[in-house]
Symmetry: C2
Subunit: 492 residues, 2 copies
């Protein structure tokens, strides 16, 4: 290490990359260039980077762009920041916890164990049943299915989903008010464009969703989350929409309290705001009937987003929006004049997959599998770390392990040291959330109408916790992953 | 008809739609609302709309937004504008020539005959061969194919395309520099974000592409088009990229002259600009070997865009970009951290389809079919309208019929009257193109280096012409469509 820093030419090569002067996502481009420089060895571990202000001036970029890129690369493990010593290339500059980055050898070293939430085990994709549906769907498809697609989506799939969602999620969904898309993220983009900002969002949530909204000009304001879910009494007339995960607050784990469900619908009716219900894992509830979707309470004020990414595979790129009637034409118009994204042959195949009952069978199989894994996780913790409280386990594909204050970062780092990719609650916290406020508002303090007792399985993780996804590892690798997890936990 | 106009409440209902105050595409939303109002009968034929200024003030929209929406709805046939009489709901407010609108009963009355360019006959999709590829691909796929996708695209398909494009299009494409996307439009979006504006573009081209670039902040400046293709001598240092259709200028029909191919690469080398080669129908050339891609001349300065939308089906949503190495990381970064668009199962199926030779067979079959249709078109014109010159027939899925000055609009209208959807050249002209300049620069006047003789099959359509797509109609409907076309042509 030296005390001086590298200059921009040493980072990016002698020419200013063409793309850095584009109108697009300069932060992403700069991040890619920096990762490249580290990966290729052009920047050795320990190398000191210029202060973000000077790199920004050098490259003609906004200071925030460079500051954000540095911050994210620190979060990904490529860079390290220390008080008084500036930002340096990390000593072990291989991200072991790629937060939302594909885990392929081309982009990052693969950790040995993967307990990052969000993905089902890819080995359980029902290849044979899917092919059988494809065969029937292609045989039955009308010719126009192979022409330019209607952005509304194939009617066959909209009909199939309308029936399924009514039956399983209590959604009131005429096929006309379903618009198909390439996934929940695509749905969010479309709603951002149609509805405009600002939105309120749960203080804990996917950073990817917040960033995506921001890139469409929609800022999000954090809503406190306590044991009963989001504090919807914090909504105002200024919020044009609120993004919620009512079935299973993501990632803290509780369902939204019935009184709050009613309250958020009242807010929408009174203000004309929109409730955006991200029903990301509503089908996976283990100990009793799934909580129905809020959408069923008032289809004219709730837009429900769903996809097959958790239940089947994120590879198919099929999602859906169940919309208030008044938004349907606008969302379709904003989507484009033809279908540019989702494959119609996949849409038809999924329609058959749902109608034939194969989807129900797959969900059932996955539910059993996830429940077994959850039980294994709980048992391992009881045995090896009984002092660690585990919450959010009534549903979903992940749980939250509460940690003593101030230990989360160390636990994540200890996990990485064990070759285990796992994330902390801090990875999901809205940058605008007030830590003090959260602490005060936590655990049961609810003023959204007559609040009942909190869901026993849910909890408020306080400030520190690990978000443990138990769906991803292959069957054979799971026990060892749990072993590595227990070793990474702070002693009781 | 009355002399007063309706007010905004009569148009949009009593509540201002939520979505009109969004940050998104307000023009699209307003257009959807106006179409709805007409379709539902709320606005009767002949109803006079408010002047765009007053509707804009009423709704709090920019004047341009409303003016553009009016203009597009006039172009689509929903509204009619007459000097001194303002804008009214068209007497027969059913668009018969939906320019880039899905031709589904839900959105517009279907014309009897369809000679709008752009789409292969959907009935020729090779269902059996596609399914066979799907079966092999799903059986062979590694488990990780069903996990979150790498935005670079499946390596299996990138390898298959690298071989195919080298063999058929003379493209120099290592799999590493291919990035998969959901179609050429998606590729354009990504390049717009990475490269930034302004771009130059052929004065004739897809309005959809220009609008898409504009919506990503990239303005386009028109380049004259003559018998040798785009006048690339009009490129300057200010242009960051140029969008070209070198194989078959869209829609006028000629290939880019060899001297101009060399000249455009020289421009890119000298200025650091990027040549964006839209290879939209490069595989379909009838009378001799296809013209190779410009990309083969200099892979470091040309980005080639291609897709299966013309060769196979627009329904699959698979396209590719072959990029200069320096752009690959940035384009992948801008695409997102995971694959959000293209289905990996479809990518794998296409990889097998290409590797197994099925794609070559399909292209061969389509080429024979299109050539036969082109010959039928030429024969019908020789018989019924020998005074009409037909150009751009050496390749592609459409031809241009030159018309006497001032007759194009009438011919399009006469065709609509026959139930025939067909477009005029004016539908493709860049709004910034200067008519006088085009006329002067036309026919052979080239100063892009030592110009040889123009391609015999190509021509400059002058100012008026019909763009006739001959690929879409079903086999049985084609002769009648040609009959309707001949009836719509001006007498000799």
């Amino acid at each position: 290490m030296t005390d001086s820093w590298v200059n921009s030419a040493e980072i990016l090569g002698s020419d200013l990359p063409l793309e850095l002067s584009g109108t697009g996502n300069r932060r992403a481009v700069l991040m890619a260039a920096l990762r490249d420089a580290v990966r290729s060895g052009r920047l050795a571990p320990g190398t000191r980077l210029p202060p973000y202000r000077s790199l920004a001036a050098d490259l003609g970029l906004a200071r925030n762009t460079v500051a954000d890129a540095y911050a994210e690369l620190v979060a990904e493990g490529w860079l390290a920041a220390r008080q008084g010593s500036g930002t340096r290339v990390a000593e072990r500059a291989v991200p072991v916890t790629p937060v939302h980055r594909p885990r392929t050898p081309e982009r990052a070293a693969r950790p040995v164990h993967d307990l990052v939430q969000g993905q089902p085990d890819p080995s359980v994709f029902p290849r044979t049943a899917w092919l059988a549906s494809a065969r029937r769907a292609l045989a039955a498809a009308p010719d126009d299915a192979f022409g330019p697609g209607d952005p509304h989506g194939r009617p066959e799939l909209r009909r199939a989903l309308a029936g399924y969602l009514a039956r399983v999620r209590g959604v009131r969904a005429a096929p006309e008010r379903i618009v198909l898309c390439s996934g929940a993220a695509h749905g969010l983009r479309l709603l951002a464009e149609v509805v405009g900002g600002p939105w309120a969002a749960e203080e804990y949530g996917l950073p990817f969703h917040r960033e995506l909204l921001a890139s469409h000009g929609v800022g999000t304001r954090p809503l406190h989350v306590d044991a009963d879910g989001a504090r919807v009494d914090g909504l105002t007339r200024r919020d044009r929409a609120v993004l919620l995960t009512p079935a299973h607050q993501f990632p803290t784990g509780g369902p939204l309290h019935p009184a709050r469900r009613a309250a958020v619908v009242d807010w929408a009716r009174a203000t004309g705001g929109l409730v955006v219900e991200d029903d990301y894992d509503g089908e996976f509830r283990y100990d009793r009937q799934p909580v129905g979707a809020v959408q069923g309470l008032d289809p004219e004020h709730v837009a429900l987003l769903g996809s097959v990414s958790k239940s089947l595979s994120p590879t198919l790129r099929i999602g859906w929006m169940v919309l208030p009637q008044r938004l349907v034409a606008s969302v379709v118009a904003v989507k484009g004049e033809r279908e540019q994204w989702s494959s119609a042959t996949e849409q038809l195949t999924l329609a058959d997959f749902v109608e034939s009952g194969a989807y129900d069978r797959q969900v059932r199989r996955m539910r059993q599998r996830h429940r077994r894994r959850r039980d294994q996780l709980v048992a391992a913790l009881e045995r090896r770390a009984p002092h660690v409280r585990v919450t959010g386990i009534a549903a979903g594909l992940h749980a939250v392990l509460e940690l003593p204050p101030g230990t989360e970062r160390s636990a994540v780092r200890a996990a990485a040291w064990q070759g285990l990719a796992v994330e902390g609650l801090a990875d999901y916290l809205h940058p605008g959330a007030e830590r003090a406020g959260r602490a005060e508002g936590a655990r049961g303090a609810s003023n959204a109408g007559p609040a009942g007792p909190a869901d026993a399985a849910a909890g408020v993780p306080g400030r520190d916790g690990l978000v443990v996804g138990y769906a991803t590892p292959a069957e054979s690798a799971y026990p060892e992953a749990l072993e590595a997890l227990c070793r990474a936990l702070p002693p009781g």
